[in-house]
């Protein structure tokens, strides 16, 4: 008769204790995994400080799309997606007509709209200024794509098993974009598009280093960025950006077939 009553008391105690211990264990596990993941992130996300930027001289670009091809083969960018491409438009009427080219890519903004809205920190800015995506934690909500005013982000809409084997980062259901070829930058190489450009129109470098090539050119050349009024402070600069031609080629998007390029004159005339 003595045994049941302490047992009963103990029983109600253990239930409370169980909840307490369980709650504590959950809490510890939660905090632990948080710390673990954030430490792991910090390790993989570190880089020497800097401000990596790209300068594209539009006077030199002749729209060969070699950069688009080099980028796709370097990074295994999925079918239908691009990390960089050359937008096209033409201005004037025959015989006074001129084709304009506008290479497009992620602007690696100083104040990136995509990083601000990402709910899990999958989009982040590294200390060297590059804006990157951690594809291991991206939940595929595509808020960054909606928030990016430059429309340079793409999504792995379809499952392509072969591609995933060759390029593990090109996995289903996550967002993709230009990472300035950080795997090459970290080894002291230039990005694949810069490497391949036959006109030498693309220059990459650290703006915090006054002796870098990009800093020297930008010191004595007028440069422009896309949509500076949005306050994103892009780090992709252009030389010779024609506002009308830019807007027209922005409208046309990825249209690599010349017949589909937008005519600036038509566009201006229609308004």
């Amino acid at each position: 008769m003595d045994k049941p009553s302490p047992n009963r008391v103990k029983h109600s105690m253990t239930r409370r204790e169980l909840v307490q211990i369980g709650g504590a264990a959950l809490g510890v596990a939660g905090v632990g995994s948080l710390v673990h993941i954030s430490l792991a992130q910090r390790a993989s996300r570190s880089s020497p400080p800097g401000r990596m930027a790209m300068l594209i001289d539009l006077r030199k670009c002749f729209g060969c799309q070699a950069c688009s091809v080099a980028c796709k083969s370097e990074n295994g960018v999925l079918l239908g997606n691009f990390r960089t491409w050359v937008g096209q438009s033409y201005k004037g009427k025959y015989p006074r007509v001129r084709r304009h080219f506008l290479p497009r890519m992620c602007n690696h903004c100083e104040k990136p709209a995509c990083v601000k809205v990402c709910p899990v920190g999958a989009s982040y800015k590294r200390a060297d200024g590059t804006v990157l995506i951690d594809k291991n934690i991206c939940i595929g909500c595509r808020y960054c794509m909606s928030a990016c005013p430059y429309g340079v982000r793409s999504f792995a809409w379809k499952r392509l098993p072969d591609q995933e084997v060759a390029y593990p980062s090109q996995t289903l259901g996550v967002v993709d974009k230009c990472d300035l070829c950080v795997h090459r930058l970290d080894k002291g190489l230039v990005p694949s598009c810069v490497n391949t450009c036959p006109a030498g129109a693309r220059v990459v470098g650290n703006l915090n280093d006054p002796d870098s090539e990009i800093s020297r050119i930008m010191a004595d050349q007028p440069v422009q960025t896309l949509a500076p009024e949005l306050g994103t402070q892009p780090n992709v600069y252009y030389i010779g950006l024609d506002q009308d031609a830019a807007e027209a080629s922005l409208e046309s998007g990825v249209r690599m077939i010349p017949a589909q390029a937008t005519n600036v004159t038509d566009r201006l005339g229609s308004e």
Partner: protein, 449 residues
């Protein structure tokens, strides 16, 4: 004479068996839900490429459904909490429906985010790695708080009813056990009654700011970006008004269906439709005012990029959806104005139009802006929802209706004790903070002529 009549009518027939029509309806809805599940599994296997979404228009009708369902969920709080606080006696028979709609709409609304995610399993990351600066996280926080409070707020007024029901004959063992557990030892003592009313009163006050926060934060998912015709400070109140508008309309629709199918004509009378119609009329005026303010500002200001989006809606690719929305709302407004001719029929018809119109409103807010980006990326072209999306969406809607029907089958869909309270002349609980909630002559009794 009236009193006895009302008392006799009060005997709400709690369904102890399902009729054939109920079973057929459940069967049809079940098939739709199953079809949606199959389409979803297909989408999980093959990726979001099964939808019509693309790199430019990366949010489609799942996001539309999300905003729409969360909007519908505002019904419960408005009708139940606000009308409770305003001491509107006529609310009594419709509070339960409204509260149930809130919970189920939130469930289905939240599920749309799972559908829309490229990596649904990784949604756990939001809890582990969540960053407070993302409006999506604010959204998750406010929606989950709202869901928890809505569940609690549905359960609280259920307690006395379940306490009364648990001993009713003809219940299955499971029903008895569930009712007994959920009624949490209710013995109908005056002490318990007072406490319950006090808690309901407190919850009614607490849940209103939560409700306002929920749809404000939903609107800020869009409003806080620098995308054209999204970046608008009016979005918070505009979305909240639209949410309440569609939510009340959803309640009217549900009440109309239940009235006919569950033989509740004695409880859900023309009075309720008239009052809800008046409420809808007020919300319609607010909605038109906000819509005008939003579109006039954009159109008159005439910033090039904003104008491009506006043109798509007024005369371009989205003109059909936009003008269909305006037509729905305008005809609903006229129906509501003239509702005296046939209160129940016209208010119900207007509500159906409002629900469709609000879905179109969410669609024409989300998709055109994405279709016309400031800087054209790639995959340019119009978004056309695919069969997968339509099947999953109809499955979601069917799931919502199914949950509501099952709830109505197993729980009293009309708050029995609150009606009884209104008809009881010797109400004793005009005490404490809940006094304004229950005092006053029962308007319901008055108009039961």
């Amino acid at each position: 004479m009236r009193e006895t009549n009302a008392e006799k009518e009060f005997a709400y027939e709690f369904p102890t068996a399902a009729g054939i029509r109920y079973r057929v309806a459940i069967g049809i809805l079940g098939v739709l839900v199953l079809a949606g599940l199959v389409a979803w599994i297909n989408q999980l296997i093959f990726g979001l490429g099964e939808t019509g979404m693309k790199n430019s228009v990366n949010w489609g009708i799942y996001m539309t459904n999300f905003v729409f369902f969360i909007g519908i969920s505002h019904a419960g709080t408005l009708i139940s909490a606000v009308l409770r606080l305003l001491n509107a006696e006529w609310r009594r028979p419709i509070t339960r429906v409204a509260e149930a709609i809130t919970v189920f709409a939130l469930l289905l609304g939240g599920f749309q985010l799972v559908l829309d995610s490229g990596r649904p399993l990784r949604l756990v990351n939001v809890f582990v790695l969540g960053r407070l600066q993302s409006p999506l996280l604010w959204d998750l926080a406010s929606v989950s708080v709202y869901f928890a409070s809505a569940c609690f707020y549905l359960l609280l007024p259920l307690i006395p009813d379940l306490g009364a029901l648990r001993n009713q004959p003809g219940l299955t063992q499971l029903q008895k056990k569930t009712y007994a557990a959920l009624s949490s030892g209710w013995n109908n003592s005056s002490r318990q009654q007072q406490r319950l009313k006090r808690v309901i009163g407190i919850m009614a006050i607490l849940i209103i700011p939560i409700m306002v926060s929920v749809h404000s934060v939903v609107s800020w998912i869009f409003g806080l970006t620098v995308r054209y015709m999204w970046h608008s400070s009016i979005f918070g109140p505009y979305f909240v008004v639209g949410a309440i508008f569609s939510g009340v309309a959803a309640v009217v629709l549900s009440v109309a269906v239940m009235r006919r199918t569950m033989r509740l004509e004695a409880h859900l009378t023309a009075l309720h439709f008239n009052k809800l119609g008046a409420l809808l009329l007020v919300m319609a005026c607010l909605w038109f005012y906000f819509t005008l303010a939003e579109y006039l500002t954009t159109g008159y200001g005439g910033m090039t990029a904003e104008l491009a989006v506006l043109k798509m809606k007024l005369s371009g690719e989205f003109a059909l959806a936009f003008w269909a929305m305006i037509l729905c709302m305008a005809s609903a407004f006229v129906l509501l104005l003239l509702r005296k001719k046939s209160v129940i029929g016209m208010t119900t018809a207007a509500s159906a139009l409002i629900v469709v119109g609000m879905w179109l409103e969410r669609f024409t807010i989300i998709v055109p802006t994405l279709t016309k980006p400031l800087e054209e990326g790639y995959n340019f072209g119009l978004y056309r929802p695919t069969l997968t999306e339509w099947v999953i969406s109809s499955g979601s809607l069917a799931g919502f209706a199914l949950l509501l029907m099952v709830f109505a089958r197993f729980f009293p869909i009309i708050s029995l004790w609150e009606i009884q309270e209104a008809k009881d002349p010797t109400r004793e609980s005009n005490i404490g903070c809940t006094a304004p909630l229950i005092s006053g002559a029962g308007e319901l009794v008055e108009t039961n002529v």
